[in-house]
């Protein structure tokens, strides 16, 4: 880790308009939970809000956080100011990841615990399960999106398509996809903690190992891409 990169990345995350959107997503989710808990009183309300938070809000927060710490600098080439230093590019990747990860935990996973408690205060274990599942999935999401931001300037669009189509539609429609869907791995972990969370059936060991592999692999890939970062002229 490099404290200077941590600080600059945090400033990049919070100092721009993106920071506002990042805070807005969990805020909307919590407000939604409050409204639903007032209007309804059954399991369906809990299910749908938690699902929304888990399959949409969480990966969105991870995507925005990961692309905010790396995307703009890679896009406009100003990352050369950070890279033209005797600092390992893997350290730079890890430091940027740490900031994005922290944001995903606080603004992506933690709100799910809050939402759970708002909807059903009598089941704190269930709320915690959603939160921990989200933490595992968020860890992998953030690493994957960071790697995406290191290779393409269209990381936000591609990431969005990935979240909506692969994780959202295909992940629920086809049984085979669940083995390769990050959200499913998170649910598996959550289901292990609380039986109230529906699982997809890949087994918790597989889920944790897969999430760890994706995280470590993507992070290493990000560092390696930064090592090969190429400066292009306008010509």
């Amino acid at each position: 880790m490099n404290t200077t990169i941590l600080r600059l990345s945090a400033q990049a995350l919070l100092g721009r308009r993106r920071g506002v959107v990042l805070v807005l997503i969990p805020a909307v989710l919590v407000v939604l939970a409050v409204v639903v808990s007032i209007l309804t009183d059954d399991e369906i309300g809990y299910e749908s809000v938690a699902n929304l938070g888990f399959t949409l809000a969480l990966p969105l927060v991870a995507l925005l956080a990961a692309t905010a710490v790396l995307g703009p600098e890679v896009d406009d080439g100003s990352i050369v100011y950070l890279l033209s230093k005797p600092v390992s590019r893997h350290v730079i990747a890890r430091s940027k990841y740490a900031v994005a990860w922290a944001a995903t935990m606080v603004l992506g996973a933690l709100p799910l615990v809050v939402v759970g408690l708002v909807l059903d205060a009598s089941q704190p274990r269930q709320a915690l399960a959603w939160g921990l599942g989200a933490a595992v999935a968020g860890t992998a999401y953030t690493a994957l999106f960071l790697g995406l931001a290191a290779v393409t300037r269209h990381a936000v669009v591609i990431g969005l398509l990935f979240v909506l189509i692969w994780e959202g539609v295909l992940g629920t429609a086809f049984a085979g996809v669940r083995w390769a869907a990050i959200g499913g791995w998170g649910r598996e972990v959550a289901g292990e903690i609380s039986p109230l969370v529906p699982v997809v059936g890949t087994g918790v060991t597989y889920a944790v190992v897969a999430a760890a592999l994706v995280s470590v692999g993507s992070l290493w890939f990000t560092g390696d891409r930064l090592r090969s970062f190429t400066l292009r002229g306008d010509e």
Partner: protein, 304 residues
Amino acid sequence: MSVLTLDNASRWYGNVVAVNGISMSVRPGVTGLLGPNGAGKTTLIALMAGFLAPSAGTVTLDAEQVWRHTDVYRTIGLVPERELSFGYLTGRQFVRANAELHGLVEPGAATERALATVEMVEPAERRIGTYSKGMRQRVKLASALVHDPAVLLLDEPFNGVDPRQRLHLMTLLRQMGVEGRTVLFSSHILEEVEQVARQIEVVVSGRHAASGDFGQIRRLMTDRPVQYVVVCDDDRGLAGALIAEPSVVAVSLRRGGGVEVSVSDFGSFAVRLPVVARGHRIRILELTPTDESLESVFAYLVGG
């Protein structure tokens, strides 16, 4: 004292060759990298700074490969052409971050020293987003100087900088060359390069077109067949007189008045023209070079 060496370095993107087999050594002192826009100067600097892999050949700093070797940045300071996008930082914060990333023992003192060198101490508390082009350029230079590098690479440092700040930047670069640093900067303006650099490397269409001190390059660029249009009060008289001159290759009369002259040796033509005109009592009203654009000079250098 550090030497940056390119040995037959090439870089291509698919079918497009951006840098074509260039060999050169950049030594202590100021070197100017001169070439028209799109000649491959930025590509060349990216190769030198380790931000581009050569497709063939090698780029080394004191016999060490530059590509994928982050330790070279202890020796190299880079001022890219790219705009600073850290608009949310103040100048001081930005330079200080650079000092910290270099792992300097006293980043604060190094920051102040670098800011003082580029005369940016006073506006250093303002955000970079509020800076003028020249100020941003100087902050970029401060960030590249903060670790006191032996090698300094600058891509078009004078672009868009107002004349007063340009003079200041030029003085700085010359001073750094005198201090024994290896300084290389790119420009597409001959006069700019002449004022700062001792050694000039000319790049045209990705090829190394010429290399030498500024006197040699100036001569290369001026001693070439040049076209002039002379407007005077006796076109036929002047044409007749000029064709007798050894430095004149061809003379023709323009339809709307004026004489077109092809000159092989600009130096002696410049001396002879007024003498000839006075001798024949011809009054010269206008003398215009017709292909003085730098592009045509460059085209001539590569034999195009």
